[in-house]
Symmetry: D2
């Protein structure tokens, strides 16, 4: 069976859990649109997270790769449009790195687009009662780092597989502790990821519906 | 068995559902801390909602009354501290009323405190992984109207039963449609209401933990 | 000439300035609607701030008293509707007090309304290009403490003078330091306070325009 | 004297003013760091705004070009890091265009970096008491369209001049009308732009201070 690789990060920033890891674990072994989902964890570490996803791609030879990360403060599932070639870490990663304005790939292009149908994915989530939107920035921390590294690796292969990134909100258990933050139930997140994968796997030409922002 | 009355409002403001009604329906007939939960719906209508809850109190003779309402834009379950004696409706209620700066009870006091242990309730929700906080304003629409009318009715009886109000976020299905809004899964809301009721029913002296705001 | 007393708080919470104090200082000695403005500072201290404003009222015998406080996080000038009889301090005041759920005035009423025409004031500010709204909670810290104490003192005199409270945003110099916060230029704040005082001094019957919130 | 071109957009989205245009008008003819500031307006129109700025560059031969746009909802001056090659208009521009997911420059790179020292600029604004931050998305409307078109034109010339984009908040007069929005006084905005230009004109190697976001 054809495969899809879905990755989630380990906890970071002092949090005991990462909703991305919790969610992708529950997808492991599932079948969506006749693809087998393989989910794996990644370290929140500059460089190492890219090396790890590249190894996993080599191991599983997936048709599509979806990386998932925690976005504290977000209230919806956000499907990322673009990864930019810069590390500007507001906090340290789990290896203690805190680069400021350094390229992820020396001499790499300024940015890569997601090669997933982001509008169709958002549309499918909303139709399935899961709050979602397109995001035009994945930040400048490890999530963007991985997203850029992934898209660079896929581009270097000739884009024979598609890839992209999704940010998800805190879990209720995190928001109950941190307070003053939006959250989303694990069940809603998992359902959202399944819908997003279903849309990505069955859509070849993305839908023309606006997901833009004024500023 | 001793009883608790829990009310939820009908949909309003153009929404096809009201999470408060959906949540309280699921509590009907449950038993919490050896109390039977009776849940009923209320019209989003000035005057009529108070008349209705007063009738239900007469019918069921509950020891405690908890009214629940939808708070679009809230990201946590909010336990209300105080009801104020004013109607100032930004939109029309379901009967077409839109009073501005009119008292709810002529010659009534400016405000009533909730007689529920709001800090213990918030504490219990957070400990149970449900995002929650104290709120110091229930607005000036039908939710505050009902809350004030309820506390006035209970005060007129000599406060032999306790009462209060809880606001809950949109459901994911609403936030998926409205977009740009926080939400909470129905399961999380229901669990939150159960925890809040358990705390209210088993706490006589409220906990001294801050739930204050600077401004 | 008839007098108006306008008070501003000293800095608190680690801030080197308080925009309320900076703004009211600039109003001292001005004349608005044929009233002389007298502005004074108050300590951010439970009990002492009320004692101080009561002394100033005795000294100046003003027709109207407006207390002004900093509201970090607010983006508009907010005219407060109601003061509630509770101290629930999330941080310590400048005397080190941090009461939780204690009454401001033992056996005082639950709340007092502002006796200023809050709608006419907001309307005048907006017409004068100053962002403003009604607020239905003044928090539970020293601002609400003073507001309640002031309205209680005025009520004990038989409400022969009117009084109320206005919250104002951070100054740009504070927001430049704290980051991620809205602010308002001192000139805009001062103009707003002048417009608010002009509206309060010339309006006897408040305007019927909505300033309500749903929740 | 060496020249700097500063552009501001005409009003759009139903607003009668555009703070960017108001602010840049006040800079016209000023001298900053021994450069003459020339400010010009641009139409809020896909294609035409780029054609216009390219003509102005040809006419004035500036050393540096700074484009300025209104960012409704922003509370700080935001110095943009990156322009992306996509038009995804949530509303129509002033010519009635509403492209969805179309490239700005066919076969252009995915994105261009600002060639201004964005960290030094933010640092200078904050030190000068003007709230500011780096932004990692300029949206997908006409502001990003112009920013991308400008950077593409400058790149095609071999980057012999530097260029970038700054977003500014609503004016108080706009926020007073729209309500519920942060704003910034015109004087603060103008001072901020002067500081930003001074930093840009005197900094060759950008400062290494974080301006990153987690997500």
């Amino acid at each position: 069976m054809k495969k899809v690789l879905v990755t989630g990060f380990e906890p970071f920033g002092g949090e005991p859990v990462n909703p991305a890891l919790e969610a992708v674990k529950l997808l492991n072994g599932k079948q969506i649109a006749s693809y087998e989902i393989i989910s794996r964890s990644l370290p929140v570490a500059r460089g190492r997270c890219i090396a790890s996803i590249v190894e996993q791609i080599a191991e599983f030879d997936p048709e599509l790769v979806l990386a998932v990360g925690q976005a504290g403060g977000h209230m919806e599932i956000t499907v990322e449009r673009v990864a930019i070639n810069v590390d500007d870490f507001r906090i340290k990663d789990n290896d203690g790195n805190q680069p400021v304005d350094e390229p992820i790939v020396a001499d790499g292009p300024v940015a890569y687009w997601s090669t997933l149908p982001i509008k169709a994915m958002v549309d499918k989530l909303r139709a399935g009662n899961v709050p979602a939107r397109v995001s035009n920035t994945a930040g400048t921390f490890v999530c963007n780092h991985l997203f850029y590294g992934l898209m660079h690796a896929l581009a270097c292969e000739g884009n024979k597989r598609r890839g992209g990134f999704i940010h998800i909100p805190y879990l209720p258990e995190q928001a109950a502790r941190i307070t003053g933050q939006p959250s989303m139930a694990l069940e809603t997140i998992v359902r959202g990821l399944e819908l997003a994968l279903a849309a990505a796997l069955t859509t070849t030409q993305d839908t023309k519906i606006t997901g833009g922002t004024i500023c």
